[in-house]
Symmetry: C2
Subunit: 398 residues, 2 copies
């Protein structure tokens, strides 16, 4: 099922068929995806990397590797994460087949059918699907513009029995909400969870894609704030900073959790793709990653600011949103009770697609919000498409 | 946990540590792995393929693809499988992150905790791990030199309640047993399972690696014998015919099973590595696969025959084995009650490693057999290592 299909599941199946046909048209403007623009991939760097590979590198690329990842990538990735302040020596690093696999493995490690798990509302659909697939009982806590609602989290922690197996959250440039956690909210989370033996899953795949260098200091990960404290399973990915087609992510987790995860990974796919790992290692080791992320940051900033401008210019005043300071997404709050599926239908007829709010609702209900992405369309397309989105909103909401 | 570690789990942990240190030495002769020799990978073809990629190909390689696989690979792989007689149009093909992932997805699709599943004894450790990870109750049926023991299968089918969710088997150049199913046994399996609504999982990753072209005709897959009959989930892999480092396999399954598997795959890793898929597609489309498999077939035949010769020359007469006619493995039957872990210990001390029998026993007990692989060592190394294996056997068995 595509993300699009799940976003229109309220419609009749014949309607869905027609809409999907329209939405798949090459002329449609898509603000729906969470993938980098094709034109932004570092093809020159890929060529240079491939040309630099020795026969031995290529043999490693073609062969099985250790379940936890190729030693050379574990080394270069450790260095990369250590520079961000993550305690790579006190935790274990594992390379995974995308960060979604990291989340899936953690879900399998923690969840028995019926177990309670805590997530934000809204939350990342991929993680929700993984938790559902292991039959978790998903309990959601609302998200504010500075992070999870601490009062609600407190209530949920007190009232949830048996206690939740983990709290899953996205600290930076949230998908779909676009927000960044404040230092205060992170500290309050740490204080609330201390001594409760409820690990955090911190899913941080967008933090390199900031618009403003000055924001970096406040995007500290939990383990850099509280290195000896609560258990944190930190997940990340090469998908947004190199290419999702490599299918490479990672988890950095405490030793006792790592042991279980390695066994699970071994039975899922034995090891992550070695070819991708060899390339990612060179990408890190040659310093290409700094050069590349600097470039794409500028481009995503241009697109993000263009989308903010276009939304401010065209949206009716009853639609609000938090201006993103990085990442891929803008989350629009529609008038209470609006059915964003109706807006999507209108928008698709006019040639634009986005993702409805309830796609990201852990309960699959709350639909008076919607996600538009700016990662995969250039400024001209944004300027053409956003007025259409605004028009569709007006047609439904008046 | 490595395959090696699991094979010596009967030993004390300090002994295991010492043995693992020895076994990891670069000078050790390894007959334990199931990976192609590094020197056999088609590096020239990889270079030619990479050089032929257009910018568009490279963008596809870097981007997310559909969960079921890149359309171009689904097309070229369908053609490839159709030429083998598989009913690709009446079933659905999905590209997976290695064939182990295909088996894992099928396990998740079929198994609820406590469900009965049927396997051969011995069987592939990766599949056993996947079935165990979903808490299946694994019921084993002995394997003969021409396939599963039909009388025992009949008994198990009659006596197992609730009925098993599937029967998992390896038709060609069995791992670890090295045997090929006869036409008769396959037909008897089909007859036994007809109208029982118990699907087969047919794991066929070695059939391209035959020593004798004349054997191809008898290695027909179930769906080519009985296209309209029982449900078959057919799994295969690029690991042995291109490179395991790509992590690419496939499943060809009936539509109603496919739907569930696609949802599961989406929550496991979203899609298989696109970079690997682009390369595998060219490998198929340019006809490199025929050229390459012809070459490696000759090399594996040379190694396999050398190992058969060395075993016949050096083994005590109380050790028997079925001579392989393809694949990677030879399965040695030791005197009843022998503990092959003791032999492994002796062998490692002398500089050779292999895999103990109980590793492949669904019950993890029967240890009077052992697997030696000939895929990853050249003829000279085989001639040096097999006398050492024979010596270790004599020291334990007399």
């Amino acid at each position: 099922m595509t993300r699009f299909a799940s976003s229109v599941s309220a419609l009749r199946s014949s309607e869905i068929r027609d809409l999907m046909k329209l939405a798949a048209s090459p002329d449609i403007i898509s603000f729906s995806g969470g993938m980098p623009g094709n034109e932004l991939f570092p093809l020159d760097m890929m060529d240079k990397i491939y040309d630099s590979l020795t026969d031995k590198d290529k043999q490693i690329a073609m062969q099985y590797g250790p379940t936890s990842g190729l030693p050379m990538l574990l080394e270069s990735l450790s260095d990369y994460l250590e520079k961000k302040g993550l305690p790579v020596k006190k935790n274990r690093l594992m390379v995974t087949t995308g960060s979604l696999q990291a989340i899936n493995i953690l879900a399998k490690a923690f969840i028995d059918p019926g177990d309670n798990v805590l997530v934000e509302s809204p939350s990342f659909i991929g993680a929700l699907s993984a938790f559902r697939s292991y039959e978790a009982n998903i309990i959601s806590v609302p998200l504010n513009s500075d992070g999870i609602d601490i009062e609600q989290l407190k209530v949920m922690l007190e009232s949830t029995q048996p206690k939740p197996k983990f709290l899953y959250f996205l600290p930076n440039f949230h998908n779909p909400a676009g927000i960044v956690y404040s230092q205060e909210v992170k500290q309050q989370m740490i204080d609330l969870l201390r001594d409760k033996d409820i690990p955090l899953i911190e899913d941080d795949v967008y933090s390199d894609l900031y618009f403003y260098k000055g924001d970096v200091a406040k995007m500290k990960n939990i383990k850099t704030i509280d290195p000896e404290g609560i258990d944190v399973c930190f997940t990340g990915s090469f998908s947004k900073i190199l290419g999702p087609g490599l299918r490479l992510g990672w988890m950095l987790v405490p030793e006792h959790i790592y042991q279980k995860c390695e066994l699970i990974k071994q039975s899922i796919d034995a090891c992550s793709p070695s070819l991708s790992q060899v390339i990612a290692d060179k990408f890190l080791r040659n310093g290409y990653i700094q050069e590349y992320t600097e470039n794409v940051r500028l481009e995503y900033k241009k697109r993000g600011l263009a989308m903010i401008d276009a939304l401010e210019k065209h949206l009716p005043e009853y639609v609000s949103f938090e201006k993103p300071r990085g990442g891929f997404y803008i989350w629009l709050h529609l008038p209470k009770g609006t059915d964003s599926t109706l807006i999507l239908k209108k928008a698709i007829e006019k040639g634009v697609v986005f993702v409805t709010g309830k796609t990201f609702d852990p309960n699959g209900v709350k639909n008076d919000c919607m996600r538009v992405s700016f990662c995969n369309t250039d400024v001209d397309v944004i300027n053409k498409g956003i007025p259409i989105v605004a028009e569709a909103i007006r047609e439904v909401c008046g």
